[in-house]
């Protein structure tokens, strides 16, 4: 596995360096003061350096590193989601439980690889018990709205995100001890697809995909990004249990889900009247702005691998 990891790290280093140098040259040539797009581009690339560095560190700590890192990602994402949605004073204990019980318990299930409970704890137990607690409090004002927001919050921020470290629990024959690479594959392909869609959109974007939801998404960006990231998936098949063709197929499905995740996240933000989820990551917005695609891609990727490649 060391061999593959070295190649990935060198690859990411080369890509980010190229991006930084390109942005530097563009900024040097551009008229001053720099346009907002260019400033934002530089911020985004700088933030990528930090994110890749953090992921690499977590990678070296293996199962511990990944589980803890994604538990924190869930925390940051949940905080952004709950901040943005409506809640009332009587929701205090349910909200506390989401942070204090649901996150730790779900990640404990990931840690102990208790698959049976991992897949149903949130969609069954939390889904039923949280509204029950809210009803017991007796406050029915905008009940359905509050309860739905809470359930969406933990579905998106905890349940979906926890499928990334849960990839470590899958038993793929002939791939033993190398599951970390499945995480690397998923993240590189899905986040790469975001970047590629952004680049194709900026270069060739003309026809808006969904002007009412997300004005920045274009057909050109979508198609270019999906084709390029499927190729990227095939290129990365050497770190996976998939053949190149399978890898590009899986990458295509994951990135399509990722695109839909971004679209749904945009719709929620638009409904709540904000542009970004938060300000955690300079140039990108909040944690959910960066992970919205991963959130939708992770469970589907997890179940594809589980269904077709595990025993």
């Amino acid at each position: 596995m060391r061999h593959e990891i070295s190649i990935l790290i060198i690859g990411l280093f080369v890509v980010l360096s190229t991006a930084s140098v390109t942005a530097g040259i563009l900024s040097m040539r551009a008229p001053k003061p720099l346009s907002a797009t260019l400033v934002n581009l530089t911020q985004r690339i700088n933030a990528w350096w930090v994110m890749v560095a953090l992921m690499t560190v977590a990678f070296f700590f293996g199962r511990y590193g990944m589980t803890i890192l994604f538990a924190f990602i869930s925390f940051a994402a949940l905080r952004e989601f709950v901040t943005l949605t409506h809640s009332r004073r009587s929701d205090h204990w349910v909200l506390l439980g989401m942070f204090g019980i649901v996150i730790p318990f779900q990640y404990w299930l990931v840690w102990t690889a208790w698959y049976g409970l991992f897949v149903i704890f949130i969609p069954v137990y939390c889904f039923l018990l949280m509204p029950a607690i809210t009803a017991l409090h007796g406050d029915t004002e905008r009940f359905l709205e509050r309860v739905s927001a809470q359930q969406w919050a933990i579905m998106i921020s905890v349940y979906c995100v926890s499928h990334v470290p849960a990839l470590l629990t899958l038993n793929v024959p002939g791939f033993e001890g190398r599951n970390l690479l499945l995480i690397a594959f998923l993240i590189i392909v899905v986040q790469g697809s975001d970047v590629l869609q952004y680049i194709f959109g900026k270069l060739f974007g003309k026809h808006r995909f969904s002007p009412n939801v997300s004005p920045s998404k274009t057909w050109e960006g979508l198609i270019g990004g999906l084709v390029a990231s499927s190729l990227l998936g095939a290129l990365l098949s050497f770190i996976t249990p998939f053949s190149p063709l399978e890898a590009s197929g899986v990458a295509f499905v994951a990135c399509t889900m990722g695109f839909l995740g971004g679209l749904v996240a945009s719709a929620i933000k638009r409904d709540q009247g904000v542009k970004d989820w938060g300000h955690l990551i300079e140039g990108h917005g909040g944690m959910l702005d960066r992970t919205d695609s991963l959130v939708f891609a992770a469970p589907i990727f997890f179940h594809l691998v589980r269904y077709f490649w595990t025993v």
């Binding site: 905080r79 901040t83 938060g278």
Partner: protein, 219 residues
């Protein structure tokens, strides 16, 4: 106080203040929005909306460490002076200043206590609503703000809107829900020549309300 005791005392306050600010950031990711004023070494009275015990911790977490060391929150003696533990937390750990609503002697007069703090060159955090507010409307202001400003006209009055804290730590709860918070610092407000108390308090209240980033909230 002996030198050692004094050192321990300052150390306690520094550790508490740095620790609480770090905790406030970890829980709420608090960020200041300077909207009309800038961080400054000037002597100031920060006045803010009040919904939670966490309010002044959040506000002081937005100040620089040197500013924080010389900024004191004004707290009610009726609540914080009730037991020795509460008094220790309020006065010794948080270096806040206790004032009594039912004062008897002239030295206990809230305004003279606050003026004596200002006269040491220190800044104040006050909550002119006078109590933690459970309603959705900003309560009418008590007159302290006006009296302080007319007595010390060169001290800047900065309105500070503390966002979301009523959801993080509502009155009566002791465990905070981690939600993102911002503190919006507005442009200084001063008593205009000839302006009467009521008009000024109304104007100060409106200046604070104008900083609420989500005024059309309906909860």
């Amino acid at each position: 106080m002996s030198k050692l005791a004094l050192h321990t005392y300052t150390l306690l306050q520094t550790v508490t203040s740095v620790g609480l600010s770090a905790m406030a950031w970890a829980v709420t990711g608090v960020r200041p929005i300077w909207n009309g004023s800038q961080p400054s070494e000037r002597q100031r009275i920060y006045f803010a909306n009040h919904t939670s015990h966490g309010d002044f911790i959040l506000l002081s977490a937005c100040l620089s460490e040197t500013e924080r060391a010389k900024t004191h929150a004004i707290a009610a003696a009726e609540y914080w002076g009730k037991s020795r533990l509460r008094r220790f937390i309020a006065q010794d750990m948080l270096s806040s200043v206790l004032i009594s609503r039912q004062w008897t002697s002239e030295e206990e007069h809230p305004i003279s206590i606050m003026l004596s703090v200002l006269d040491q060159g220190h800044s104040l955090i006050i909550f002119p609503e006078g109590t933690r507010n459970m309603s959705d409307e900003l309560l009418p202001f008590r007159s302290g703000l006006y009296n302080l400003s007319t007595a010390r006209p060169d001290v800047e009055l900065i309105p500070c809107w503390i966002e979301n804290m009523s959801r993080v730590l509502p009155k009566g709860q002791f465990l905070p829900v981690p939600l993102l918070c911002r503190v919006v610092f507005g442009a200084p407000v001063a008593v205009a020549p000839g302006e009467d108390r009521r008009a000024f308090l109304q104007r100060a209240r409106e200046a604070l309300l104008a900083l609420d980033p989500r005024p059309d909230r309906d909860d």
